[in-house]
Symmetry: C2
Subunit: 133 residues, 2 copies
Amino acid sequence: MPVASDETRDSGPERISEAEYAVMESLWERSPQTALEICEEVCSRRDWSLATVKTLLSRLVAKNAVATEPDGRRFLYTPLLEKDEYTGSESRRLVDRLFGGRAAPLFAQLAEAEALTEDDLAEMEALLKELRK
Amino acid sequence: MPVASDETRDSGPERISEAEYAVMESLWERSPQTALEICEEVCSRRDWSLATVKTLLSRLVAKNAVATEPDGRRFLYTPLLEKDEYTGSESRRLVDRLFGGRAAPLFAQLAEAEALTEDDLAEMEALLKELRK
DNA sequence: GCATTCAGATTACATCTGTAGTCATCAACT
DNA sequence: AGTTGATGACTACAGATGTAATCTGAATGC
């Protein structure tokens, strides 16, 4: 029997690192963008060089998190990974890892740390009411 | 003016990695414990060798997250970093990074992902009521 | 007292991450 | 057409992490 055509496995979306996330944020804000445009937005904030952004972009492309489209001799980058998809899976990871999958203790934790604003409370109340309907 | 006595800086508790966290979990569950006892609890679950646990323990000691106390020729390990301290700071990190410091969108996210159980909802309602008093 | 054994300490090593520098290429300007 | 500048590709390199194997010294069994 022939060797199965491997190397096509996806094994779930690869995780993206914190630095890579900064690049994604820029792309979620506006896309497509060139490497230079992204750098203009994030390089000063993070004190990065353009080269750093380019490296992060190629890693993101390798991870299938952003797509490239040629535009003359440069590339336009577009996010493939959606922001909600990312924040959702990271949030679930945290809840699973730290709170055994239960969200309530996380909430209690944030309350104790006084990390909940008045607005948060109001929004969450509204959300709860909505979920209960 | 003399050079400030540096090298005593703490610069905040060092972050602990995911593998290290597994060891901390065991110690939070019960402490003090020996390296072997910890391994008995986590090695099978994570498919680790005792050597791995020992490495992680020394890194945790270096990071000031656990304390050692000699017991004959081996050590008893005790957590220095409290569980709440850790989960609290990790939770805040996530909220800051992904949701601009606002907790409400995190809950919206979890709700959308159907990561909220009935119990969670009830507990959160109770907690909200409590916070509002 | 000497061999065995059981710690912790030291060393190993591949991968991932942060952060760039350098190379090769292609278009554009003079 | 040759030089210059802009771009992505390739290379670099240190520190963190995952995952151990090996070394070393002390306790213990004869």
